[in-house]
Symmetry: C2
Subunit: 458 residues, 2 copies
């Protein structure tokens, strides 16, 4: 891979790292309204980068009020060559709990081979890989071996409403042979990985209301409905300690992975004990005993409570029966579950399990179908070759338990596969304190994308 693009990369590593740090310093938390100006600054930062390196038609695309901007850019001067749609997202998760961070989440800090910051791996670092790979080609050779279009969003962590509306209305503009989605992880350090399946998501907020106002638990306890108790009962009835989800109809459409896929997973370097001790750090794993851990996180639907709010939670004792309580609950979906149908089933089950005296409402915050990408695509084969050459190991295929709604969107509206080329590591602490990105993967990621362009451009 001794190309001039690659030489350019080797000569600019320091500079790329400084650029990444600048990007990570902007707290582009998409879920918090007070960070709207930071979201805008981040979009402008990226648009400036794209413009400076020679991309054409760079545009910050505003959505409806309350939506965060998309960034579009293109370089289409390789006639007859394939066209790739390069996707990443510049928004990040909230950093709380703040006191568990070893260095501040928006002061990127290099310790050893890792850079620590919110968004380092998910997904600013990986989005920057795509940008820098294109920059290496354009700056060193003045051109690219393929045609590329960038579509970068700022709402991936909050449901991606803007891109969901934009894609079906801009099919011609976004048309490409394949998308390259840089937002996944490698199965293990040093092991080049393509992700070929993603779980879908139905994310909800369940509110339970009892009395019209907070009550004294001494005076009313024993006769007044308690919404916190109700939420506990509903949640406990929706999922049992055996990991089985008790929503009527929930499992009806679950498609099992193929025998070939299951066999391949058995050969991955996965050790349950290491996963438990090093990644999860709990006393034991949970879930459905009759499925392997990889099946549980890749190929089985889930039910998780993300947070519960309600009543008195300060220091000390307050003897109150709260009037209202709220739980954030999501379900991960696998092929061929239908998000709308699951939301209906969930809502019906919540109502069914709501105890006397309590009123519940279910609000949907985000939905996405599960997707599986065919490994037969030539764009997958070239990606496997590029990664294998750079990392000097055979590329493996895995699924991811997470959801990248845009993959389903591209498949549905643009009829193209997404090549999920990811450079995160399993211990990157995504969505958690001390998120990090492994810097050797940052540089090898850029090298891999450069090489992928070259293979496809041949």
């Amino acid at each position: 891979m001794a190309t001039s693009s690659n030489d350019y990369l080797q000569a600019h590593k320091e500079q790329f790292l400084e650029g990444l740090k600048d990007l990570l310093r902007i707290p582009s938390i998409s879920t918090l309204p007070e960070h709207v100006p930071d979201i805008r600054r981040t979009a402008e930062f990226i648009a400036d980068e794209l413009r400076a390196m020679g991309m054409r038609g760079v545009e910050i695309i505003d959505g409806k009020p309350g939506q965060h901007p998309l960034i579009y850019a293109e370089w289409l001067e390789a006639p007859g060559k394939p066209t790739l749609l390069l996707y990443g997202h510049y928004d990040v998760q909230p950093p709380d709990p703040l006191d568990e961070w070893q260095s501040a989440p928006f002061e990127p800090t290099v310790r050893g081979d890792d850079i620590f910051a919110r968004g380092a791996s998910d997904d600013k670092g990986q989005t920057f890989i795509l940008i820098k790979a294109v920059e290496c080609s354009l700056r060193s050779e003045g051109k690219l071996p393929v045609n590329v279009k960038f579509l970068i969003e700022g709402e991936e962590e909050v449901g991606g409403e803007h891109i969901e509306e934009y894609v079906p209305l801009n099919k011609e503009r976004l048309k490409a042979d394949a998308a390259v989605v840089c937002d996944t992880e490698m199965f293990a350090p040093g092991l080049p990985t393509l992700t070929t399946g993603l779980r879908g998501l139905v994310y909800t907020e369940v509110e339970a209301r009892g009395a019209s106002h907070d009550l004294h638990s001494g005076v009313y306890g024993g006769a007044a409905p308690n919404p916190m108790q109700a939420l506990a009962e509903i949640i406990a009835r929706l999922k049992g300690p055996d990991g089985k989800i008790r929503i009527p109809g929930f499992y009806d459409k679950v498609r099992k992975p193929s025998r070939k896929e299951l066999d391949a997973w058995k050969h991955l370097p996965f050790k349950e004990r290491v996963f438990l001790k090093k990644e999860v750090g709990a006393a034991a794993l949970t879930g459905e005993k009759s499925y392997s851990v990889l099946e549980r996180v890749w190929a089985r639907p889930t039910f998780e409570v993300h947070g519960i709010r309600g009543g008195f939670v300060g220091e000390g004792a307050k003897t109150v029966i709260p009037a209202v309580g709220t739980a954030k609950i999501s379900m991960r979906l696998v092929p061929d579950m239908n998000p709308k149908e699951v939301l209906r089933q969930f809502t019906a089950a919540v109502k069914k399990y709501t105890p006397k005296g309590i009123k519940t409402t279910v609000r949907s915050l985000s939905t996405a179908p599960a997707t599986v990408v065919s490994t037969d695509s030539p764009y997958i084969a070239a990606a496997a070759e590029a990664l294998g050459n750079v990392f000097k190991k055979k590329t493996v295929y895995m699924r991811s338990g997470g959801s990248i709604p845009v993959v389903g969107l591209f498949l549905q509206h643009l009829k193209m596969p997404s090549i999920m080329m990811g450079f995160g590591l399993p211990d990157d602490n995504l969505h958690a304190p001390n998120e990090k990105f492994h810097l050797p993967n940052f540089y090898k990621g850029i090298e891999s994308v450069i090489h992928y362009f070259e293979l496809l451009g041949k």
Copy 2:
């Protein structure tokens, strides 16, 4: 009741109301460390009142670091007459949720016949009744018909550690024939009421821990333990939708009220529909069907969740499996349940119901036994007469579902009954937004206590 004390009361109503407002303006929230200076200011305010009106030996008694001061004062110049220990508390519950208050909780506001403020009824307003009754006698006649001692605390809402330590060490100083505890309510507006039984309390905080750090629910969901799910399961297993508490051994020592007591309760002007609609304001009442509502709130033990904290509870969606979750849970006790034994049973049950992969810890924040006071005491009889004369109705006896730990303390260490003469109303919104005190009850309360002193001094 045309006495000079009473004339003094009638002439000073306006002034007493202004004094009460001054007292209510100080945010003496005992559970929040930032209000320690307010607690001190309140104790000084009361001590100044007691000194100014002619009480002797007024003392602010400091406890250990972190404890809130007691106030002691005495007037013992009625030889041969009974001695009463007058008890109230000057601390209040936190006012949250703040946005549900119609006027600010520490800006006392009179609307109609009610004064609205945190602590208006519980218990600054009622403590002030005792103080002002003594003031009326001392200022108008220069003496009292009985001997009195004041013991006023600032930790009633946070477990009363200081008074619990102080009483057994100061038996001689606190010795009296009966205590007058002014911290309960009337069964109905206009119906003079003595409370003869109180539920006890075991208040706990249960912490559940899963993974060592927050996890991405996509990547780990289905295999990693979730402490919010665990709390839901534990709570749902500890109490069923039928209101039955499933803690092994929990009901073993429950003593039923006497047939006479149960019969008397049946004749109280209680309408379940009014209780549900006007007081609770929910779709339905809950709890043990085989017991009447009054039995459920007065004579049956309870299990209530006061608040749950954990995970992401902000706006929008964060796909996290939190590492830790906490629930505040209390149990109300009835005679003859033992708080220590109940705490042991509860802790064992929590451990038993803790699912795989989760570690739970139970912390006790407050305990108090239930108490029943004999209606045979002459101090009860005189109180019933005093109340009956002032309110011009026959005094009824009720129990209270709440806990006043000091009643158990006085019984155990000072061997004296507590006369629970209360002037709150059922819709006073104790521990809730828009707490109020009915001003006619404030004045009639003072009149009743003056008359009680006179009856006992005959």
